[in-house]
Every structure is written in structure tokens, then in C-alpha cells.
């Protein structure tokens, strides 16, 4: 029962993540938008790598591709690769104190942005550089809150079921 509840929570958080990604922001701070969906995927794949790993990440990535009008597969590729690394090192990452974990998440986000940048480069799409590095910085700041929020959310969920 507990896992079924968490599945609902997982889907709900991802949908919320996609919604936050689409939320309109003023153009001046638009680049400074955390990679919500990626952070959520890192959280879930670190918590429950058996259930949610690359497949979930790929589906979420395809959804983002449709929402953002990028090439189908661009976000999917970057996300599934980053989540692959997360699952690979999830035991290690669980041991990390918060600061170290936050830094490694920032590293993963940076890798994700680099993959997007690289694919854009191959496809010949140019964008200002801050579009790539700003989310890394913001995700670094946002991660402690995201993980705290998610811990709170999932602590409660099993007791209900």
C-alpha cells in the first residue's frame, strides 16, 4: 500500500514540476529557473532506484520535449543519462551530508545542461550562455528546499495508507 501511495505522490510531483517549468516568468529572470523536473527525478531515483529510474526519466524528458518544443528525445536523453548516474551512485549519495549532496546534485544538473547545450550545438541552435549556467546555480540553491519538501511529503504519505 505504501508504495502505491508513493506512486501517486511521484506522479503528482512530476506533474507539478512540469507545470513549474511552464510557469511564465518575467523575461529578465526567465533564465534563472531551477530544473524542477530533473531535481525531482534525481530525488526519486535516489530514494527508490528499483522503481523509478531511467524509464521514468525518459518519459518525463519526452514530455518536456513536447512542452518546450525541443527535438523529441533531447531532454529525454539528458535526463535518462543523468538519472542513470544517480542510480549508479545512489548508495554513495545517500551517505552524503547535505552540503556534499547539494554539490553533487549541482554537478548532475551541470552535466544535464551541458548535454542540452551539446545537442543544441550539434543542431545549430544558439542561445545566450546564461540560459545554461543560471539553472545550475539556482538548482544548487533550491536543492536543500526541494529535498526537505519532498522528505516531508513522502514521510506523511505511507502513514496514510
Amino acid at each position: 500500500m505504501a508504495t502505491r501511495d508513493l506512486r501517486g505522490t511521484m506522479i503528482a510531483t512530476l506533474v507539478a514540476g512540469v507545470a513549474l517549468t511552464m510557469l511564465p516568468l518575467p523575461a529578465s529572470i526567465n533564465a534563472f529557473r531551477p530544473d524542477w523536473v530533473l531535481m525531482l527525478l534525481i530525488y526519486w531515483s535516489m530514494r527508490m532506484p528499483q522503481r523509478y529510474s531511467v524509464g521514468t526519466a525518459w518519459l518525463a524528458g519526452i514530455t518536456l520535449d513536447v512542452v518546450q518544443g525541443t527535438y523529441l528525445g533531447q531532454h529525454a536523453l539528458a535526463m535518462s543519462f543523468v538519472v542513470f548516474l544517480t542510480v549508479k551512485f545512489h548508495l554513495l549519495m545517500r551517505m552524503f551530508p547535505l552540503l556534499q549532496l547539494t554539490l553533487s546534485v549541482a554537478g548532475l544538473v551541470a552535466l544535464y545542461q551541458f548535454l542540452l547545450f551539446w545537442i543544441n550545438g550539434v543542431a545549430g541552435i544558439s542561445a545566450p550562455e546564461r540560459v545554461y549556467w543560471a539553472p545550475v546555480l539556482i538548482s544548487l540553491l533550491a536543492w536543500p528546499f526541494v529535498s526537505m519538501f519532498m522528505n516531508g511529503l513522502t514521510m506523511r504519505a505511507p502513514s496514510r495508507g
Partner: protein
């Protein structure tokens, strides 16, 4: 939590294989999407699923707009009404002149035996307040193939050209703005017909005109209109006004920037221009040297 903690010490089954398969699948999809249009059906299918979410995300902005509208004081409304009335009177006066000019133009064109200019149908569409793509200057509009929107269709607002439709879905479409770094628009200087290309820069208020020689007859304040070359845009719509002209003697081309006439980052409503296919050729006389996007 404790129960999962024990189980996932075990190896995740076939993680590497699955990852590689998904990466390869992504690559194939991307190449396919880049080369062909065939994935658009998949895209619009998923788009239909995502559509409710877009509506939800757009709701706060819509509600806010509605609240601003419905709480405006009577005084403000009267002022606005008076302003609009004056504006309409002016516009109508201009329109009278325009009708006469149009007739004169048609007569002259008859004399020259030139083909008619395009006068396309126009429909109004709303902008869905979702942020589309951080790498591009895109907007999402609330009309799709259901409303006969097609790829490459021109978008204007009351003041000038905004961009063109990039991808169509069933209910929504994505459009690229002229300020996108990958957008190039064939334009001509209204004053003297000098033709060039205006590139987006990634900033909403700057267009770049890199191909004007140092001795080109251009000065700040000149109006740029679409030239219609390339066939993507109908000719004669205002695009931008020249802001700076910087002539550097050692270099072949002058550094020229322009400010778009349309308010690219504050529109809520756009107009779509329908060009009928047989007259589309008229917009694209002899050469296709420039490219509309």
C-alpha cells in the same frame, strides 16, 4: 522508506542495458525529428495530454487580467474610453486615405500589369502564458490545426511583425519570435527600398542587421518593412526601426541595430495572417535568395 532501503541494495536489473537502449532511442528520435516532419503526430498526441496542464498554468495570469479588468474604476474606464474614441477617429481618418490610396495603387498596378499584392485574411489568437523554451524566443498561441493554422504562418500585433508559427498542434501552436537568435527576416528600408536581412539577437528589443555595407543609405529612425522575399511573410508589414548605425571605416559592413515595432515581450493577443496558396507565389518573385526563417 525502511523497506525500500533494504531491497535496493540489490543491483538494479539491467540498468546499463536499459540506459543504453533509451539513449540510442533518444538519438534516433532526435535525428528523425530533425530531418523529417513525421513525428509531429506523436508530438501533437502528447500535446493533447499536456494541454490541460497548460491551461492550468495559464489560469493565474488570466484570472489576474480578469481581476484587473473588472476592478477598474469608472473614472479609468471613462478616460480609456475617451482615449480610444480619439484614437479610433484618427485611425478612421487614416483609413479613408488608405482606401483612396489602395484604389490608386490598384490602378497603377493595372497600368504596370503587375500582380496584385496579397491581402490575407487575419484572425486573432491569444497567447497562452506558458514559457515554452529557454533556448529560444518562442510563444505558445491558443489556436492549432483545428483553426487551420499552418507552419510558417506570419504573426503580427497591432504595431508590427511578431514572428511565425513553428510547430502546430491540435489546440495550440508554437511560434518563433523575430528576436530569436536563429530567426532571420528579409526586410527592406521603407524610405528607399534598400533590402537586407534582420536577425534576432536573443534580446527582445534588439535586431541585428549585419549585411549592410558602410556606404549604405541608412540612418537611425528608418522604418524597416517586410520585403516579402522568401515567401514566408507578406510584404509591407512594419518590422523595426533603425536604432544605431555604426560605420567602422576598416570594416566592410556597418554595425546596424534596430528596435522591433511590435512589443515582443508584452503582447497578450496576436494576429495570424492567412495567405492563400495561389497568391503566395506573388510574395516570392523571381529569386528565393533569402530565407524566411
Amino acid at each position: 522508506m525502511a523497506r525500500t532501503g533494504h531491497t535496493d541494495v540489490a543491483r538494479i536489473p539491467a540498468l546499463g542495458v536499459r540506459t543504453v537502449a533509451l539513449l540510442v532511442l533518444s538519438l534516433i528520435l532526435m535525428v528523425y525529428d530533425h530531418r523529417t516532419q513525421q513525428l509531429d503526430a506523436v508530438r501533437s498526441a502528447i500535446g493533447v495530454v499536456v494541454y490541460p496542464l497548460q491551461v492550468v498554468v495559464d489560469t493565474p495570469a488570466r484570472v489576474w487580467g480578469w481581476m484587473v479588468d473588472s476592478t477598474t474604476s469608472r473614472n479609468d474606464l471613462e478616460l480609456e474610453n475617451a482615449r480610444l474614441r480619439v484614437q479610433q477617429r484618427l485611425t478612421r481618418a487614416e483609413l479613408q486615405q488608405l482606401l483612396a490610396l489602395e484604389a490608386e495603387n490598384a490602378r497603377l498596378r493595372d497600368l504596370l500589369e503587375a500582380r496584385d499584392r496579397i491581402s490575407g485574411d487575419v484572425r486573432v489568437a491569444g497567447i497562452v502564458s506558458v514559457d515554452a523554451n529557454p533556448f529560444r524566443h518562442n510563444i505558445v498561441i491558443d489556436v492549432g490545426t483545428r483553426d487551420r493554422v499552418y507552419e510558417g504562418q506570419s504573426l503580427i500585433d497591432a504595431k508590427g511583425v511578431l514572428g511565425q508559427v513553428l510547430k502546430t498542434g491540435l489546440n495550440t501552436s508554437q511560434a518563433i519570435l523575430i528576436s530569436d537568435p536563429d530567426h532571420a527576416l528579409p526586410v527592406e528600408v521603407n524610405r528607399n527600398g534598400l533590402r537586407t536581412i534582420a536577425f534576432g539577437t536573443g534580446q527582445f528589443d534588439v535586431l541585428d542587421l549585419p549585411f549592410l555595407p558602410n556606404n549604405a543609405d541608412i540612418q537611425p529612425g528608418d522604418l524597416l518593412v517586410t520585403s516579402g522575399l522568401g515567401g514566408a511573410f507578406p510584404p509591407g508589414y512594419p518590422v523595426a526601426r533603425i536604432a544605431t548605425v555604426n560605420r567602422i571605416p576598416q570594416q566592410q559592413f556597418a554595425e546596424v541595430t534596430a528596435v522591433p515595432e511590435a512589443s515582443l515581450n508584452q503582447v497578450r493577443e496576436v494576429m495570424l495572417i492567412y495567405m492563400n496558396s495561389d497568391s503566395a507565389g506573388a510574395a516570392d518573385p523571381d529569386n528565393g535568395a533569402t530565407d524566411g526563417d
